[in-house]
Symmetry: C2
Subunit: 192 residues, 2 copies
């Protein structure tokens, strides 16, 4: 006894399990077994039980993603920076399917903490957009556009929703460039 667990260890194990079997298969039963402990013992770390664990997974996921895209943006500017963070986002979702699910699933209908959790990522986008000639409003629109596109595209790709044999990588690249072109047009508009 006295395995010596702590919240972080449990969350990381749960995240790995989610990536392997899908978030729906992360039960307290199997998680506890994996950790060498009884299910009820997990309540010593997560008072709120499974619900709280899922919330923590969500927070952990967004935090990890924030770190990844921040690293990706270092030393880059403008389109290069955008491309880099978008690719980092997509790579993250591909490498952490289960965790990425948790980031979206939890709090589907109660989003206070979810909203906080995504702020870090949003800030990175805004910083990168500062190097463009855009109004504040336009920046908000653009960040929303990228968030929507990235979440949807990654989610569909992760779950095998793009059936056509054409390279999904090419589609991603194409889409980013198309969006960036659209943004360039805006800037030309402003300079006039």
């Amino acid at each position: 006894m006295k395995v010596g667990l702590d919240k972080t260890t449990i969350i990381e194990m749960a995240a790995n399990m989610a990536d392997e079997k899908g978030i729906a298969n992360v039960t307290l039963k199997v998680l506890a077994a994996e950790l060498g402990v009884k299910p009820s013992s997990l309540y010593k770390h997560f008072n709120g039980g499974l619900g709280e664990l899922n919330k923590e997974l969500m927070l952990y996921g967004w935090h990890s993603l924030e770190i990844e895209i921040t690293k990706a943006a270092i030393g880059k500017a403008k389109d290069d920076a955008i491309m880099a963070i978008c690719y980092a986002y997509r790579n993250f979702s591909a490498g952490h399917k289960g965790l990425f699910e948790a980031m979206q699933w939890y709090n589907m209908y109660r989003s206070e903490e979810h909203l906080q959790a995504t702020q870090g990522m949003v800030s990175v986008f805004f910083q990168v957009l500062d190097s463009y000639e855009l109004s504040e409003e336009q920046k908000v629109h653009i960040v929303r556009m990228f968030r929507g596109f990235l979440q949807g595209f990654s989610s569909i790709e992760s779950h095998g929703g793009y059936g056509n044999p054409l390279s999904i990588n090419d589609s991603f690249d194409f889409a980013l460039k198309t969006i960036l072109n659209g943004i360039h047009d805006l800037q030309e508009g402003m300079e006039k």
Copy 2:
């Protein structure tokens, strides 16, 4: 007894319940209660139990969405048609939050039928894109781009994920126009 249920009635009731309380709260217990029947009776209609019900909801949702966007495209061409089907998609997700969840949740890690289910919608996109000067490859990329954007944007919006007070409607409109601008650039490229 002999309430006289059939699959369609049950699915529609389940869809309504999902829209009201979220898909996670559609249990056989409460669904049966709502239908004036015992939970076990539902197995006479859905051999596969809750899992099958969820699958049916998913299929029903994509089918309904296909109908909506098809109607929206009638009598329109090019950008007008694209805008119309995108708005129809977004309106659908806003009006059917729970069903829209079901469309994405079910089969997260088993996507054969899911893939079939989305084909109708994909076809509508392709038809609309036929009025543009684009290669087949480009069309595939573009459909993937729109699907990603629409699913992500709608999902984030539905769950209150866009915190900024700026109009989400404006953001949606802005994003569509930006993407369309990007696509126009492509066409100019081809004409050269």
